[in-house]
Subunit: 231 residues, 2 copies
DNA sequence: CCCTGATATCTGATATATCATATATCTGTA
DNA sequence: TACAGATATATGATATATCAGATATCAGGG
């Protein structure tokens, strides 16, 4: 029925949401920058209502703050925001790995191996965007096994928050090399039949703010110099 | 400055949100029931805009579904919704317990003991509302130690979803007795200096859907007979 | 010069009107 | 009688106008 329909009407609200998310993702809309309903309405030639609705959604997801009658600002990403995101992502990804262990077979670990290899190739080619897409796809191998779509949506929204503003055209190569190594260790634990250890490794190492802190600080401090990150 | 101000203007949108949440909480707005913007606008004498904005927020939080141009429906709570909520709550509460273990002292465990005792007294008096308030307060003892307000908000929203619709004036007493026993075990693990075991117990026993499934099914199946829960 | 109160301006919040889509009902034809 | 197309109705989605609160600026008095 509806899911088979080749046509769909995308609400203006959704289009605005997608547009603004795209702007943040490309770095065209930076942390701290102001968004003005009246200007946007004039620029796009649409009314303020769908704009406002899209922004209310973005606010609920943490991307912007609406100051009543004062203005709308794109949220900076502070170190504690990063720490909080790591905490939630780590806990939820670990939970999925444990809960869906029965569905993680050699097809899945094989897929993750491929993606990890593609990540390494992207690293060698300095292709940042591709590296991150493969990274997201790596984690999605097990996330997509979960029917808990709310959980996955929470994780994905937080990842978008993490990835948007530091989404620069560059790496801390040592971090990414370590990261792909952690992926490999993770796969090894899964393949050796120890999903509990794999789950713990994902939460306590790969998504541990404390463990990753030196890389995080190095990575984000470089961005801070570029003015993309406000403490 | 603003946080000290004894006066505040509460937007219509927020008032509508609070009102509707209160209605769901009291069972005056049941799962499956329709909400009509035009009727509500007429009844409250306010425009549809803040109504719609409140409902968009409620939709984002899982309480309602807005069917474009067709109507707005209060979401039923299915068994899989409950399972999903348990999964997320368990993972996140366990994470807080681990991360904030340094802040959990005898003051906190003492507080939890008191609340658990109050829960037992409510149970003896068949005071359902009070039992649940103490239960929420019990868990909040450690949740409030976390500065990850996004995490806590996620947990609280899911709990509201769980508690609203089965919020009847009654108990499965054996479940609640078992539950307070689990609280006691949890406190014991904390006091014996094993926060990791306490964290694991909270996630793998107290908030494990599989472990609690028999109680859940008994509790919610009674509600289903009352028409409060749709599968 | 500084402070206070009045006024102007800005911008989101709300009210009202209209539009766009989904569904129900009616009408005509085979 | 059944089916297809046209029309009516319902309801959320969007457009436009106005309001309400926050901030900036100005004017007057001490």
């Amino acid at each position: 029925m509806q899911t088979d329909c080749p046509f769909s009407v995308v609400s203006l609200r959704q289009q605005v949401y997608d547009y603004l998310r795209g702007q943040m993702n490309r770095g065209d809309l930076r942390p701290g920058s102001a968004i003005n309903l009246g200007e946007m309405s004039a620029r796009f030639g649409i009314s303020r209502t769908p704009l406002r609705e899209a922004l209310l959604q973005l606010e609920a997801e943490g991307f912007v703050t609406i100051y009543p009658r004062r203005g709308i600002v794109v949220n900076p990403l502070s170190e504690s925001d990063i720490r909080h995101a790591y905490e939630v992502i780590g806990a939820l990804e670990a939970s999925v790995i444990l809960n869906e262990q029965g569905k993680i077979s050699s097809a899945e670990t094989g897929q993750m191996r491929e993606l990890n290899e593609l990540m390494r190739q992207s690293l060698d080619r300095d292709d940042f965007a591709e590296f991150y897409d493969h990274n997201v796809a790596f984690h999605n191998v097990y996330l997509d096994l979960s029917d808990n779509r709310g959980l996955v949506r929470t994780v994905m929204t937080l990842k978008q928050r993490l990835y948007d503003f530091p989404r620069r055209k560059g790496f801390v190569k040592e971090w990414e090399t370590t990261s792909t190594g952690e992926h490999e260790r993770f796969i090894g634990l899964l393949e050796s039949g120890d999903p509990k250890a794999a789950s713990g490794y994902m939460r306590d190492v790969h998504w541990s703010f404390d463990v990753q802190k030196p890389w995080i600080r190095r990575y984000y401090s470089e961005l801070e110099r570029e003015g993309a990150l406000n403490r």
